[in-house]
């Protein structure tokens, strides 16, 4: 996990994801915004891969890119004049306000979280499937009869 390649990949993915997220906001053309959004989703899937959470990474791709983004693309395809400049929208001020509030919440959470991990915390993390004991019907961690 701590290899140089992983660190390099983290910075490349961060750059791609942030630039694409910026592109979603900046682009005047709705189609371009959706395509940047897809790139952002793929970048986030890349972060999940870096965190060894490959199932979530693929779920991210299949749900967000394969379904949600394509749904938005469909909406654009079927909307007349969807490629028009949306710069004259009246919602600039409320959007800015909402954005600032969201950023404040995120910064607060980031500042308030204890990022250091220890063994007690690590115990609660999800284990890979290969580490799990083989599952049998009627057996669960809380209820394990002698036959398990």
């Amino acid at each position: 996990m701590e290899g140089g390649g992983v660190v390099f990949a983290f910075y490349v993915l961060s750059a791609v994801t942030l630039v694409a997220a910026g592109g979603v906001m900046m682009s005047r053309n709705l189609l371009h915004a959706v395509l940047f959004l897809i790139l952002t989703f793929v970048g986030i899937a890349g972060f999940f891969v870096l965190l060894s959470a490959d199932f979530i990474a693929m779920a991210q791709v299949i749900i967000y890119v394969g379904a949600i983004a394509v749904l938005v693309l469909f909406a654009i395809l079927l909307t007349p004049r969807s490629g028009r400049d949306n710069g004259e929208t009246k919602f600039a001020a409320p959007a800015m306000l909402l954005g600032v509030c969201l950023a404040a919440v995120f910064l607060f959470v980031m500042h308030d979280t204890a990022w250091q991990t220890n063994d007690a915390v690590r115990q609660t993390w999800a284990q890979p499937l290969s580490a799990a004991p083989s599952w049998k019907p009627g057996c669960s961690p809380s209820n394990s009869p002698a036959s398990c």
């Binding site: 390649g5 053309n29 189609l31 371009h32 395509l35 897809i38 793929v42 490959d54 199932f55 693929m58 779920a59 791709v61 299949i62 890119v65 394969g66 379904a67 983004a69 394509v70 693309l73 469909f74 654009i76 395809l77 079927l78 490629g83 499937l129 290969s130 083989s134 599952w135 049998k136």
Partner: protein, 385 residues
């Protein structure tokens, strides 16, 4: 025996990965070139023609001549095309197809990477393919391209559901084979589990659904309405020329090959079925290739036999026939596996389902159109012309 864990020639893992990728890319390019030649030859024979004969012995280097011509052609961009969307669309179509090839096992423990979630990875990445096609359709600034793009997207997201459910059926079956009742999504393990009998014997219905949905995902006849030449002049790549057009062709044939290898691994036993895991790697590779090529010949055969569907027939076939049948298959598997009933019962129930599916297809094929007026014609009282 070469294993995934052993790097080729003892190289560090990054170099090893790059070499494997290069090998797969080379194999893919050669296979695609000869697939275009093979399609022309096979289709020509089906239509009582000869196909390419002039370039090289039996027309064997026709594909290279075509590639050379395409590279030399002018790369035209329409004035009202959306520049970056138009120019990046071929890459967005091609990259997912190529990424699918990275997860496929071609011989025992030999592929680019052995992914624990290989099956899930493949159908997650296949969903990305739609984005490139929509980019081409929307970015070309052409009504035919737009129609082709929307048809392709509507068709692909509809047929993806029965495709994925039929693959889920196989993933359910693996849980009876692995011995620990968990099952697997690892394509290499799925192939190894089929050493005694391929899963097509246990799941004929799922196999039929997979093959039909695969034809649709690949835009092959009879599901080729997004690229129908006689209706919308080629669909989403109508404005492309030269090297960009050939990238669309490359990704189409590469995905055909990728799907065929994938289908042969999941349903026909991949490298493992007749010869087992101890056979020499060249035998296993040949087994995989023969199985995938028979898939491809089947695709060409269907193409020359069945006429193109209309879009309403296409959609109703997906939502009214394939999707319910795939759910029935999944429920049957669930009941049989939950009660640990014998595997012969899987063959029996799924075979009955497959017979039912074939009967439904034949019934739909011989159905005559209604003589009564329908829809707008009915309200207007005018005869349908």
């Amino acid at each position: 025996m070469m294993l995934f864990a052993d790097p080729l020639f003892g190289l560090p893992s990054w170099t090893d990965a790059i070499i494997r990728v290069v090998l797969v890319v080379l194999a893919m390019t050669i296979v695609v070139m000869y697939l275009t030649y093979g399609e022309r030859k096979v289709v020509a024979r089906f239509q009582q023609r000869l196909g390419p004969t002039e370039t090289g012995p039996g027309g064997l280097i026709q594909a290279f001549a075509d590639a050379f011509k395409l590279v030399l052609k002018e790369d035209i961009r329409p004035t009202n095309a959306d520049r970056w969307v138009f120019e990046l669309a071929p890459y967005a179509t091609f990259v997912p197809v190529f990424m699918v090839l990275l997860a496929l096992p071609f011989a025992h423990d030999w592929g680019v990477r052995d992914l624990g979630l290989g099956l899930f990875y493949v159908f997650a990445i296949l969903g990305l393919n739609i984005v490139g096609i929509m980019m081409a359709g929307l970015g070309s600034g052409n009504k035919y391209a737009l129609l082709g793009g929307i048809r392709a997207a509507a068709q692909m997201i509809s047929y993806e559901i029965p495709l994925v459910i039929s693959l889920l059926c196989v993933a359910m079956i693996t849980s009876a084979d692995t011995g620990n009742e968990i099952g697997t999504l690892n394509l290499n393990v799925i192939a190894a589990l089929q050493e005694d009998r391929p899963y097509v014997l246990l799941q004929p219905l799922a196999f039929l659904i997979f093959f039909t949905a695969m034809l649709s995902e690949l835009h092959r006849a009879p599901f080729d309405i997004p690229v129908a030449e006689s209706e919308i002049v080629g669909g989403y790549f109508v404005e492309y020329s030269g090297i960009r057009w050939s990238m669309f062709q490359l990704s189409e044939y590469a995905s055909m090959w990728g799907f065929s290898v994938f289908g042969s691994v999941v349903f026909l036993g991949g490298w493992a079925f007749p010869f087992g895991a101890d056979a020499h790697w060249s035998v296993q590779l040949a087994t995989t290739m023969v199985k995938s090529l028979s898939f491809i010949v089947l695709i060409f055969w269907v193409r020359t036999t069945v006429p193109r569907l209309r879009i309403d027939q296409l959609m109703s076939f997906c939502w009214k026939v394939l999707l319910p049948m795939s759910i029935v298959q999944m429920l049957m598997n669930g009941v049989i596996l939950a009660y640990d009933w014998p595997q012969e019962l899987l063959t029996l129930t799924s075979g009955a389902g497959a017979a039912l599916l074939v009967a439904i297809i034949i019934k739909r094929a011989v159905r005559r159109p209604s003589k009564d007026l329908v829809g707008t014609y009915k309200t207007l009282g005018a005869p349908a012309q």
